[in-house]
Symmetry: D2
Subunit: 341 residues, 4 copies
C-alpha cells in the first residue's frame, strides 16, 4: 500500500503518523520528494482499511498495490482448486481444474413428478448435478416461496433415483442440519454479503457455491469468498449470474469478463448462470456457449419440463430438448478448449 | 394488470389461458381488437408473478397498473405513518408525520469514553436518537467487526446516561434477545433482501429502520418493507443511503429523488443517511440539507469525536462541532418546510 | 401501444382524449372494464412519443407493444442484411449473413512503419479489414489527438500496400470528403447520439459502423441506427463495445447479451470490440472467443506491434503474435457455428 | 503521479523506463524499497496518459495525485467564476459568485403565443433567463425535432418582448451564426463528449452551458470543460441533469452530490436541471429546493402553459402556477444560504 502525503506536511506530525502505522505491524518506507512525500507500507496490509486511512488529515491519496484478499488470491495459491464430490452412485464429479461441469434443473422443486422427470432428462443430456430450489428468496412476500423441507425431500429422492448429486440454496443457517444430503450449498446473490451466513458456512464441511451479488464488484465477491475460506472451508465455487445495469432488455447483464478476471485473480472454480442473468430462455444457449468460450469451469442452467406452468421464473427455463441440444454444442466447445465435459 | 396477447392467437388456446388466470381468483376483461387482443386482470394481483406470466407462449407483454405492494402502499393507507418511541426519560420521540428526526453517533462503538462523549455532544446539538454500530458488516473478514455484545452494553449505558434512545444494526436474528434495550433495530443495506431476517423482524415488536440496498429499486425497497408489514410489524422507517453508480467520486450516489418517490408511493417515514452515501465528511452537511429540502423526515449522521482515529469509516464522520453547526442550519430549513426539528 | 386510463375517468373527457389520438392517424380500440379502462392504439405508432402521452392527466400507464424502430426491425425485414465491400484488390469482403469478419489494427495510426507493419501482420493472420484511428476522440484536450489527415494518408497507403480495406472514425462531418478512400466510416460510442452526424451519414453512400454508446440501451442503439437507415443508407453495422458499470476491474463491461438481443430485434450485422470494452489486452482473446460463441458476425480488435510504446490505449492492444494465435482459435469456433472466417 | 513498479524489476530496464519518462519533461523521484519500488513524477502531468502507462510491462499500478484538468481546477483558480450577461434591457444577469440564477421556459418552442406566454409568466415569477429548444436532439428520427430556425426567431422575439436573455441548445456548429442573438449556448448531455463541437465553442465568445453526459463522471465533465476553457472561452457554466441508473422510477437519477463535488474541484458555476433528471413534473419542486440546499448556483426548469399539449417532454414540465410558487420557496432557501435570487 502506498500513501501520498498532503503537500506541506511537516516533520513531527508526519513522524507521529508513521509511528501510528508502525504500531499496526507495518514497516514504513519513506520517500520525500520536493513536491510529494510518499509512504510505502511493507508487510501484510490485508487488515488495513484503506478508507479509514483516507480520513487522516495528512493523507492525500491511498493506492492499494496488493489485493485485500489472501486465501482466495492466486498469487498465494497458483494452482487451480479442484473440487471433488462423490455422488450417491459412488462416482466422482469434478469441478475446476480442466473439467466442465453442468448443473441443471428447475428453478423450484414443485412436485415429485416434475423434479424426477427433469432430473432424468438432464442426467441423460449429460448434466453432472441436479439443481432445484426448495427455499426460494422472492422479492414479494406474496409470491410462491418454495416447498421448503418437502422440496428438499423431493430433491433428495430425485438424487437417489438418478444418482445425480444436488445443489440447492440455503437461506437460513438454521436449516443447515436439513441439508445433510445436499452435496453443494448455494449462497444466493442477495446473500453474498450476509456475513453472518458466510461465517457459519466457513465452519461447515460442505462445498459452497457462492453467487455474485447483483451489484457487487469482482473484489467484493473475492472478499466474500475470503470469509468462507478464512474459516477453513476451502471447497468453494464462484458463480457469475449477472449484474444490474440501466438496460431493461435482459433482467441483468451477464458479465462474462468476470470469468477471466476471477480466473486470473483467484484459483477458485468459476461457473456461470445464464438463466438468472438474462431471464430469457431463448438467450440461454448463446450465453452458455459464450461462458464456456470465455473460460468458465461450468454452468448452472434452469431446465423445466413445462416452462409455461412453472411456479417461478418459467420465462428463463429451457425445455429438456433445448438443454440436450445445447449440451451437444457444449461438447464441441469443450473439445476446442481442451476440457472434459 | 394488463396482458397483451400475441397476434394471431386463436379461440381455444386463449380460452384455456383465461381459464388458467381465473383459477387464480381473478376476473378477466377480454378486449379483442383487429390487431391486438388485450386482457385486463381484475382483482388482487399482488400475488401474481408478472415475470412468470411472460413465460407463457401466448403472452406478448405484461403491464402492471397497480403496484405489487399493498400494506406499504399509500393508496390503501393515505395518511402518513407516525412512529412514537418513548425514551428512557419517558419523553416521546416522533418519526414521520411532520417531524424532523435526527439520529447521530459514531459508525462503531469503540470505548465507553468515545460513545459517551459523542452521545453527549449529539444530544446537546439536538439529535433525538443515538446511533452506533456494535455488530458491523465489513467487506473484509480481516477488518474490525465491531465490539459485539460489549458494544451493545456500551450503547445502552450511553442511552441511560444521556436519555437518548438508541438505534443499532442487527445482523443475526439470534441476537434479537440481546437487543431488548435497543429502541430501533436497523437492517443494513446488505440485508435489505435477507428475507429470512425480514420475516423474523416482521414478528417482533420493535421499530425497524430498513436501509435501501445499494442496488435496489424503489419498488424492491417497498417490497422488502412489505415483508415486515405483512407479518404485523407496522413500525417501520425507510432509509435512503446511496446507490451504486459508475462514478468513483463518492462511495455511492445519494439518490434524493427516492425521498419524494417513497413519500408518494408509501405512507412510511423516510430518512436519509448522507454519511454512508457519500463516504466524505466534508460533503455531509450539503447533502443533509438537501435531503431535508427534498422532503425527508429525518437524517442518520455519523459523528465521531476523533474521526482520524476511528476504527472504521472515519473519513465519513463529521466532528461534534460540524454536527452542531449543521443542526443550526437544519432548524432554519425545518422552519421553511413547516416541520419540527 | 396500450394506454391504461386513470380510474374514474368520465365520458366526455375520455372522448376528447380519444379524438386527440385519432387526429394523429390512429384507430382507437376502447375497452371499458369495471375497474380499468384500456385504449388500444392501432396503426403506426413509431412517431408517437410515449413519454409525452404520460403527461396527459387521464393517463395511468403506457405500454409499448411494438418497438419504436421500423427499418432496423427484423419484424419488417426478416432476412439478415449482408454487406459487401470490394477491396483495392477487387476481392469482396462480406459482413453479416453467415460470415465472420475480423477488423484489426492499431488504436492510432502513428508512423508509416507502424501502420504498414501492423497491416501486414493482421492481413497474414486473416483479418479482412484494417482498422486505425486518424482522428481520435480523447477525454483530455492535452492527450494525443491522432495524426488527422496525415494519419488518413498513411492508412490509405497501408490499404494499397496490403489490399486490406480500411475502417476509421469520423468525428466531424466536414471531414467527409477526406474519407473518399475509406471503406467503412466508424461512428464512435461518444457520437452514437450525435444526431446531426447520423443524419449526414444517412445521406452518404459509405457503409457505417455504429458503436453503441457506453450508457445506451439496445433500443437506443437501434433508434440511432434508424436515423441512418431512415435517410437511405442501409449499409450499416452495429458494434457492441462495452457499457458503464460500477466495477472498475475492466474499463467497461462487455455486454455480450447485446449480441443475441440485437440479432433477434434487427437484421443488421453485429460485431464486437473486446479491446475497448475491457481495456485489458490479456482479456481480449477470451472475450473475442466468447463474442463469436454468442453469435457475433465479427470482431474489431486492436493490434499493435509495440503496445508499450503506443501513443494511446496501448494497454488494450494485443501483439501480432497473440492476434495470430487468436485467429487460429477463432477458425475452430467459426467451424462449430457453421460460419466462414 | 505515482507509479508502483512490478516487484523484481532490475536496474537497466528501470533506467530505460525512467529515461522515457524524463523525455516527456518530467523529473523522476525514485524510491526503492525492499519489496516495492515507487516512482514519483514531478512536473505537469496533465498531458500524461495514465492508461497508456499501465501498458508498460514494468508498471504495477498508477496513482494520479493531481487531477488531469488544469484550467477548470479550483486549485489553480481559487475564486469562484462569476459570469455576467447583459440583457436586451441593458440590465446585468449574474451566474455564480453568490447569486442564484433561474432559467425557465418550455422544452420546445412551439408557437409565438406559447413562447411569449411562458416567457412572460416565468419573468414575472422571477426567472432571469428564458430557456427553450429550437433544435432538439430526439432519440427517434420520427419524433418532433424542434422548429429549428423559426424556433430561434420566436425565442429572440420573446427575448425582445420580455427583456429576458435566452439560452438554447446548439447541435450543429454550422448553426453558430444563427445564434448571434442567443445569450448562452447550451451543449446537451449527448454532446458533452462531442469534442469537435467543444473545440469550436472554445473559440467563440458566447457563454456556454455544458450539461453533464448521462453516464459521465465528475472528472469527465471537468475534462470536457477543459476543452472549452483551453481554447480561450472562460465563460462556462456546468449543469448536472441526472445520470443513468438501474431504477426506472425516474428517467435518470439526479446526482446532487455532483454539486458540492464540482464546487470543490472547480471554480465554475454549477446549475441543476431537475426537469430532465427526473422526467416527472410533480417531483421538480422538491428536487429544485434540494439542489439549492446542496449549494447549486442556479436551476434550469421546464415550464409549459399547457403541459398536456406539449410536443415533447410534457410530463416533466411544471405549469406557470407551480413555477411561481416554487420561486417563492426558493427565495426563502436563498435567504438561508445568504444568496441573492
Amino acid at each position: 500500500m502506498i500513501i501520498a502525503i498532503k503537500p506541506g506536511t511537516g516533520g513531527e506530525e508526519l513522524g507521529d503518523f508513521i509511528a501510528l502505522l508502525e504500531k499496526k505491524g507495518l514497516r514504513i518506507n519513506l520517500s520525500e520528494g520536493i513536491t510529494q512525500t510518499v509512504l510505502g507500507l511493507v508487510g501484510d496490509t490485508t487488515g488495513i482499511d484503506a478508507e479509514a486511512l483516507m480520513a487522516h488529515r495528512l493523507v492525500e491519496k491511498v493506492l492499494r498495490v496488493q489485493e485485500p484478499y489472501k486465501r482466495a488470491n492466486r498469487m498465494f495459491h497458483p494452482e487451480d482448486t479442484l473440487i471433488e464430490i462423490r455422488g450417491p452412485d459412488g462416482g466422482k464429479r469434478r469441478i475446476g481444474g480442466g473439467c466442465l461441469t453442468v448443473m441443471a434443473g428447475p428453478c423450484s422443486v414443485e412436485t415429485p413428478e416434475q423434479i424426477t422427470a427433469v432430473a432424468r432428462s438432464v442426467k441423460q443430456a449429460g448434466a453432472a448435478f441436479l439443481r432445484g430450489g426448495a427455499f426460494k428468496p422472492r422479492t414479494s412476500p406474496y409470491s410462491f416461496q418454495g416447498l421448503g423441507c418437502r422440496g428438499l425431500d423431493l430433491l433428495v429422492r430425485a438424487k437417489r433415483e438418478t444418482g445425480l448429486p444436488i445443489v440447492t440454496e440455503l437461506m437460513d443457517i438454521h436449516h443447515l442440519e436439513l441439508f445433510e444430503d445436499v452435496d453443494i450449498i448455494q449462497v444466493g446473490a442477495r446473500n453474498m454479503q450476509n456475513f453472518t451466513l458466510l461465517r457459519e458456512l466457513s465452519r461447515c464441511r460442505k462445498p459452497v457455491l457462492l453467487k455474485r451479488g447483483h451489484a457487487c464488484t469482482i473484489t467484493e465477491l473475492l472478499m466474500a469468498a475470503e470469509y468462507i475460506l478464512a474459516g477453513g472451508n476451502d471447497r468453494l465455487i464462484l458463480c457469475e449470474r449477472g449484474i444490474r445495469s440501466f438496460d431493461p432488455y435482459t433482467r441483468n447483464i451477464l458479465d462474462l469478463s468476470a470469468v477471466p478476471a476471477l480466473k486470473r485473480q483467484s484459483h477458485l472454480p468459476v461457473i456461470v448462470d445464464p438463466s438468472h442473468a438474462t431471464g430469457l430462455a431463448w438467450m440461454v444457449p448463446a450465453m452458455a456457449k459464450a461462458a464456456i468460450a470465455a473460460g468458465a469451469d461450468g454452468l448452472i442452467i434452469e431446465v423445466h419440463n413445462q416452462p409455461e406452468a412453472a411456479l417461478c421464473d418459467g420465462e428463463q427455463s429451457v425445455t429438456p430438448e433445448v438443454f440436450a441440444s445445447l449440451m451437444d454444442s457444449l461438447r464441441r466447445y469443450a473439445d476446442i478448449e481442451g476440457k472434459k465435459l
